[in-house]
């Protein structure tokens, strides 16, 4: 039995010990925004925040989230208003097929929480672990720069 808060909502779940956090979010909670791209923690499509820190949920056990707060892509928007990072990705072309996008925006939100005005080098170092096949990354960098310019203070 684990008790965790996901996107501000408390949950009590009976999960087997071998359940990964990603599978728990997707199957036990129906939050299918986070994706399994590689299953070995490399690609970043499963990126979620655990107590504000970005992790690969595909190689984290669900039990690690017991007593903790998880933020997924579904938790970024406030009511009907997109998070500035989400809006920036839309406006600047930071996504195409969308499969890596949940991980990208969660990682980008964590970046701007930690470094509100990152340099290009800081963006690239932070986002190193979020792979993308469609965009070639240029517009991901531009999206994050745009979001940094517009982020709530």
């Amino acid at each position: 039995m684990i008790r965790l808060t996901v996107n501000g909502q408390a949950h009590e779940l009976d999960v087997p010990s071998y359940r990964t956090l990603l599978d728990c979010l997707r199957y036990d909670l129906g939050l299918t925004g986070s994706k399994e791209g590689c299953g070995v923690g490399v690609c970043g499509a499963c990126t979620v925040l655990l107590d504000g820190k970005m992790i690969s949920s595909c190689i984290a056990l669900a039990v690690f989230a017991d007593g903790r707060e998880v933020t997924t892509v579904e938790g970024l928007a406030e009511d009907e208003r997109l998070h500035p990072v989400q809006q920036a990705f839309m406006d600047a072309g930071g996504f195409q097929c969308g499969i890596c996008t949940p991980g990208q925006v969660v990682a980008a939100k964590a970046l701007l929480d930690a470094i509100p005005h990152p340099s290009e080098a800081e963006i690239k170092e932070w986002m190193l672990g979020n792979l993308c096949r469609c965009t070639g990354y240029y517009k991901i960098v531009e999206s994050i720069q745009a979001a940094a310019g517009q982020a709530r203070a």
Binding site: P16, S17, Y18, T20, G39, V40, G41, V42, G44, T47, L50, K53, M54, I55, S56, I59, A60, L61, V63, F64, A107, E125, W126, L128, G129
Partner: protein, 295 residues
């Protein structure tokens, strides 16, 4: 993954009791980045997984006499960003920073990096060059052993069943010493090293002769290695480009790399020489800076 018993002790004593009970049927999990991946690939199928994530007292970074003691549960990211480590042992902070990606570093721990015993990992190489000591506990006692004696084989450390890494203690650098970590990444920046070298160079008061050099190598054998032959070449010698090149060549003969996706054994052997020379050159420059700074 095959199902397993999951235990989450809150104290070190409780942890050690569980490990003694299960013996080699238990695996310890901290960050999980290595173990969960292995379990998903059926490379590890423990009957019991013991999480030490909630065990008190294993997450501290503290200065002790002439050393920094890093608790086993300190994450790579915490070590990388620690003001104490950045100031007193910047080469170690830099080494932790080179591991994988930030996501991995948020979870993977210092103790886990040692216990996993993968020769392709970064921190053990630098810890070996810095002559760090590993604190190990078991129910009823503990021991400390040098990092250089901690690795037996590929994925095999010196830990006996029932034992747990609790801390690593890293001596500060002597005066007039420079240190460097070189990670050769010919593919992408998030990869394991094709060849990794950590080196320290300590200068004699004349500023030109080497009092002592320490060289550790990663990704070139089934364990990280100290390269004593190359170290001996440098000890007491007058430093110069040709000597550093010779040290690199000496190191080449000591390694026994595997062919893998990051390079063939032949290439890794050649790159050992190149990277040892580069690491020594950087460490020497740092040593000259340190010697000048201390006047």
């Amino acid at each position: 993954m095959i199902a397993f018993d999951y235990r989450a002790p809150r104290s070190l004593d409780e942890t050690l009791a569980i490990l003694q009970e299960y013996g080699d049927e238990a695996r310890v999990i901290a960050g999980g980045t290595a173990l969960v991946t292995m379990m998903r690939q059926r490379l590890a199928q423990p009957a019991c997984v013991v999480s030490v994530r909630g065990v008190a007292g294993l997450g501290r970074i503290e200065a002790t006499n002439g050393s920094i003691r890093i608790g086993a549960l300190v994450t790579h990211r915490e070590a990388e960003c620690s003001p104490l480590i950045q100031e007193r042992l910047p080469v170690l902070a830099e080494t932790f920073r080179r591991v994988g990606t930030i996501r991995i570093r948020h979870m993977a721990t210092v103790g886990g990096a040692l216990a996993h015993a993968d020769p392709n990992q970064d921190p053990p190489v630098t810890l070996m060059a810095l002559d760090a000591g590993v604190e190990v506990q078991r129910a009823g006692g503990g021991r400390e052993l040098p990092v250089a004696e901690f690795f037996r084989d590929y994925y095999e450390s010196a830990l006996e069943p029932g034992e747990l890494v609790t801390a690593v203690t890293v001596p500060l650098l002597p005066a007039a010493t420079g240190a460097s970590y070189v990670k050769f990444l010919p593919r992408t920046a998030d990869d394991y090293a094709t060849v990794a070298v950590a080196a320290t160079v300590t200068l004699e008061p004349d500023g030109e002769h080497c009092r002592e050099a320490r060289i550790a190598l990663g990704s070139v054998a089934t364990t990280p290695l100290r390269e004593r032959a190359a170290e001996a070449l440098l000890s007491g010698a007058r430093l110069g480009e040709r000597l550093l090149k010779a040290a690199g060549s000496a190191a080449k003969t000591a390694v026994d790399p595997l062919d893998d996706h990051r390079g063939s054994a032949a290439y890794k052997r050649e790159m050992t020489a190149v990277m040892v020379e580069r690491a020594l050159t950087q460490a020497w420059a740092e040593a000259r800076r340190a010697a000048r700074a201390s006047g």
